[in-house]
Symmetry: C2
Subunit: 595 residues, 2 copies
Amino acid sequence: MGGSIMGLGLGSPMARSSSVIHGVIRRFASTRMVDIIGKRIAVIGGVAGGASAAARARRMSEDAEITVFERGPYVSFANCGLPYYVGNVIKSQDKLVLASPELFMKRYNIRVHTNTEVMRIDTRGKVLVVKKTSDDSGESSVWLHPYDELVLSPGATAIKPSIPGIDLPGIFSIRTVPDSEHVRQYIEDTKAKSAVVVGGGFIGLEMAENLHHLGLKTTIIEGLPQVMAPLDAEMIAPVHDRIRASGSELLLEEQVTSFERKDTGGPITVTTAAGKTIESDIVIMSIGVRPVVDLAKAAGIELGRKGGISVDASMRTSQPHIYAVGDAIETENVVSGEHELVPLAGPANRQGRVAADNAVTDRQVRFRGVQSTSVCGVFGLTVASTGLSEKTLKKLGREYAKVYLHPGHHVSYYPGAKTIDFKLLYDPKSGQVLGAQGVGEEGVERRIDVLAVAIQGKMTVFDLEEVELCYAPAYGSAKDITNMAGMVAANFIRGDHPTLHADQVQLGDYFLLDVREQSEFQAGHIPNATNVPLSELRQRMDELPLDRPILCYCAVGQRGYNATRALMQNDFEVYNLSGGFRTYMAAKAANLLLE
Amino acid sequence: MGGSIMGLGLGSPMARSSSVIHGVIRRFASTRMVDIIGKRIAVIGGVAGGASAAARARRMSEDAEITVFERGPYVSFANCGLPYYVGNVIKSQDKLVLASPELFMKRYNIRVHTNTEVMRIDTRGKVLVVKKTSDDSGESSVWLHPYDELVLSPGATAIKPSIPGIDLPGIFSIRTVPDSEHVRQYIEDTKAKSAVVVGGGFIGLEMAENLHHLGLKTTIIEGLPQVMAPLDAEMIAPVHDRIRASGSELLLEEQVTSFERKDTGGPITVTTAAGKTIESDIVIMSIGVRPVVDLAKAAGIELGRKGGISVDASMRTSQPHIYAVGDAIETENVVSGEHELVPLAGPANRQGRVAADNAVTDRQVRFRGVQSTSVCGVFGLTVASTGLSEKTLKKLGREYAKVYLHPGHHVSYYPGAKTIDFKLLYDPKSGQVLGAQGVGEEGVERRIDVLAVAIQGKMTVFDLEEVELCYAPAYGSAKDITNMAGMVAANFIRGDHPTLHADQVQLGDYFLLDVREQSEFQAGHIPNATNVPLSELRQRMDELPLDRPILCYCAVGQRGYNATRALMQNDFEVYNLSGGFRTYMAAKAANLLLE
């Protein structure tokens, strides 16, 4: 690898500043020039963050010597696609491998070592101890690799709980292409008919959907009272319904206590803390991931409180010339100011770019931080969120207010409108948008994206009132969901629309007024509610108490708002139940009602 | 109507401030209270803007007397849905009528007069002269209606050019529910098999698609060289292709010079300026709309330079106590600062709200202005834009730069990715986003919405680099299109990525370098281009001229960017062709290449 020769141009600005010398060298040594001058950039980990860093480094410095070390057999693979490869939605493994070491060399002049582990970082000598295991012979070779700048992108590994039987054949986690290949193979070989997925996060749900797609009878076991922890519990009721409607089983607030295979070749018996047993041909563990930090830790690099590698906004670690990006690091949430582990591909890619800029140029480039925008498809539902959830706001002790809406994804008069359950969180003083969550069949990611940009731009609910989005009957409403959410929130702040939430008040303290039509009321209502349809309200106000607060509600909040306006101007103390009967039912399903 | 009695409470804050008196009145005169106190709000025009103003006025003032006068038989109808009702996508006319006068009365205590025209506004006496034509007898009655505050929402009418034969039966325009009913009826009665649509704007294209959907052989005649004028010409090439692929005929840069029916009951002969004749059973005129301003003009209300009613940001006209909203007004484009006619439902609704707030409360509420976000579905393609187009920027003499991208709407490894043709316009100094356009089958409106919010938040391309949107394989890419657009633009501003555009340079002035693979090159390339694939570029740099600027390109721009970076660091004067071969072909199709 010729450390001494490569050292020649280290830190020298010659490469970029002296075009004469440069030109001469180009003429004489055109293709090998990169070995003679330029910084040596080493990247550990060749997936999202690492691959981005390497490619960006090349674009920013043609004469850098860039080397990527990847422990696994593939670089730049589509880890987000793995569940869909298992489910045969993505048919071919080739599709998952976005770039080969050969392509990296040919297109970007980047050397990639796969099946190669960095054993140690010598931060003083700026040298890596590298070990490669040959594909064919299985023999390994060890060498030293000097670097000028180092980017760590080691990623995260699946958490493997110490449950009896966890190492049984047929129990898998999905982090790499070989992992997903093994699962496919195992299902084919054993003709598996049933699966247990432990963990109801993104990957767990994507795996469950894909196993279901393959025809396996699937059971999801989740320790919390809800799947998809980034969203608040009351938003998830339709997700639970959807999972169960698919024919899959969903066990909530359940822990696996053991795995056991009673007969060779037979199913695995999964036993839970509640004493339930499930026979399953295959088990997928997806209870979460843990940042890979051993190498960094051994090199004296500081970790954060969440156990990830600590970096500043330039992606620099505590050790000079060492950067870190991706799932292994802690990064600042721009809405909360807290440092978090955020194992998402989008931020990883952008962090890789920032690290490369800082490593190979003299620019000061900063990463904005994350806001935890995420989306997941679950049996035809889209579940998405951005910013902070209500539970996080509570944990942080931040003041917040919220809005629930349940509109169609486009106008109701155009066929095919699908309801979106939408929640907006905002600062009740400034109106600043703090977070948003959406669940529905269509158009959810679009609205969450709108809110993501609003959060980034530090926009308020007053801005949301005025967003001007794409509207035609098949695409939305003249007042989009995001406009409506802004209007409801802004009305609240202006004092025009006193609202209360089903999970924040004792419903018994209020005169409950259902302003829906009689037929709707009869089909189901909040216990002890009195029905006065909005269309009769002005004629029947004398039936309402002036000496007791009124909590009025309709199906989703709109008629309730009109009723609230009419009543408050007639001297009633009145509040509208945000999100109406639909949010009430969701809060009830999530056991959030106060007793 | 009792003007004198109603006058009692005019301008008096009593209604809101004195709860004692108010309460007493409520007890004794509960249901008719609104007739005794409160402002008299009159609204002319009961569709989008007018209906919004009326409903908002009621929410803000329970004791206002609110009256809506609507010339046509329906209020609050879904005019955006009319083409889809013609096409029987929306099956029932009931779906189009969102609220009846009865509902307005029952739910909102708003009196609606349909089939009622306001003949004159007496601005001094603050009285309207109103004429109602009875549905049954056809007899009409005229009365005076006093107002305290007046909101004009008269809308726009279809432009009817003075072409010989324009009044023939079988020639229609579509602005109202009866219009669309007449077209449906006519098609049914005459068993129409063919249609000509004159005008290729939103409504023209929606009509063409719907007539096609009904099985009519459809011809679109457009005077400009492109349909969908809000977008730039080179973006529209795929739209033209799509229209023609549907089997519809598309005549561009063509004017209709006459309509003629040679035989009674026979088809209409449509003759164009170029001498072409088309036999058609039905003709839809949709060359644009004109604001309805006669009443306003007669009342001495100032008009703007575009012929619409002039209003300030509070929606006030030049006459005290008169507001105007919707298609009839001129409103400020927040990006250009120019006043425009913007006949779109979204702004109309929000303007109605602003006018109502200012009319019935003492608040100072302002309308933000418009940014002309729009979307249209055309034979399965979504065509959307926000902010300013390149042609508008040119007209305004504004400095701008642009980016073209052609990525998939989600990652390519997940099945079903559809290409989006995307264009971003920005300020080349500050990076501020000025406009965006998108065309594609999926995910277009979502990206345009993201850009719409970015424009509203006065965000820059540096902000776009960092937007954090929903990503999972079925929903996008780790670097979203909007990130990519921001990165390309920011790279350009930073000087990292010199780009040129096919419509802005003489291609012959450059050494044209095609860095795609040989097979791609052989399938079609820019004349006189030399092919050196990116993967061979570093080995073959000595084949390239140092004494001549190089314009390199690939399929869509990405490999060209990498090649540009490599070459510029090796002392070549090099530029990347934005959007690559795909944008070049689109510019060529739109006749935008310089000769």
